[in-house]
Subunit: 177 residues, 2 copies
DNA sequence: ATGGCCATGTAAGATGTTACATGATTTA
DNA sequence: TAAATCATGTAACATCTTACATGGCCAT
């Protein structure tokens, strides 16, 4: 009962809580405009999601004119705020703190399938890509303190991945001689 | 055309490449037994996935007795090996190197919704969970060099997250006075 | 006034999950 | 030999994605 919020549902409720009532499209824009978004903000995700949240009583909608057209304006309910707080606050389930999935790590699990002499090129390509992405992150000028704090976490995560691959490359070079 | 492999497809092909022909159940076991698995190894994922791979010519199956029952034994094909190499080796697409999703970071994006006085408790709960998970990682005794290298990446990622939250807590303490 | 983009959705498909069914094998 | 577990799937459902439809708005 009282099913927990998914990540996407938490983000949508969080958006409504911070910005006030919004149309589904405005919620989509927040995802479409976010540089770090893991989700595409696709209409087929957001519209049904808001309907589900309304069926659960976490948001309420009313028809409202946006320009000359009618659209549904969604607002978070008191119950929605309670659920959002439960999503945001401890206790944190194990999958929140466990190691996030990393597609490069997935590939490292199969490194033995790659001939030794090709591995250095793989490490270098990964390092180049990781550094490029880190630069892009650091070039972001986030406005709010929330984004700033989250961005710091992303930067630290990227530095850790770079240090990891740098170590792999050193180890490979040592092994090869 | 020649659709790229998904993460799960890459893992399954990698397993078949390393271990040789296997039944769908044996592939499932690899996921079920893996401590770090992001995937559940559910039957409903693995069985149809192998059928899709066969339809694409990347694996081939034959009926074979496993004990007294018949089951499909899947083997990777030469085309499957080529595709697996393309999945494993550079060039790496942007989403491989971009910051992996972190549910704690998602929540930090909404930290402003939490009263200041409750944030320290949040940071402490996160730190406790992160440290517990790091200990569990370090307690693992992985056998192969692949797992050892991947595990090092996971440990570094966890240390980075811990350092990040430790910083957030210090910052919060400084702000509060 | 019209061609292109913005806003509001809907539909179809991909890919995962949990739950179920069922026969073989092991264990108490 | 009965119960539990293993092995082999299938089915129903959840939740994303991309692609489509459609009407309003804006710039030329």
């Amino acid at each position: 009962m009282t099913q927990a919020l998914s990540e996407l549902e938490g983000c949508v409720l969080g958006h409504l809580s911070r910005r006030g009532p919004a149309t589904a499209y405005a919620v989509r824009r927040a995802f479409l405009d976010s540089p770090s978004s893991h989700w595409s903000g696709s209409a087929g995700a957001v519209y049904p999601l808001l309907e589900r949240l309304e069926a659960r009583g976490l948001v309420r909608s009313r028809k409202a004119p946006t320009g000359a057209r009618q659209a549904w304006l969604y607002a978070i309910t008191p119950g929605g705020r309670r659920r959002l707080r439960a999503w945001l606050l401890p206790p944190f389930s194990a999958d929140l703190v466990s190691t996030p999935q990393d597609p490069l790590r997935t590939r490292v699990h199969f490194l033995s399938l790659i001939p030794e002499r090709q591995r250095a090129a793989l490490f270098d390509a990964a390092l180049a890509g990781l550094r490029r992405h880190l630069s892009a992150l650091q070039a972001l000028r986030k406005v709010g303190p929330d984004d700033r704090r989250a961005l710091r976490g992303a930067v630290l995560a990227m530095r850790a991945r770079i240090a990891w691959f740098a170590g792999l490359r050193r180890e490979g070079a040592r092994t090869r001689r």
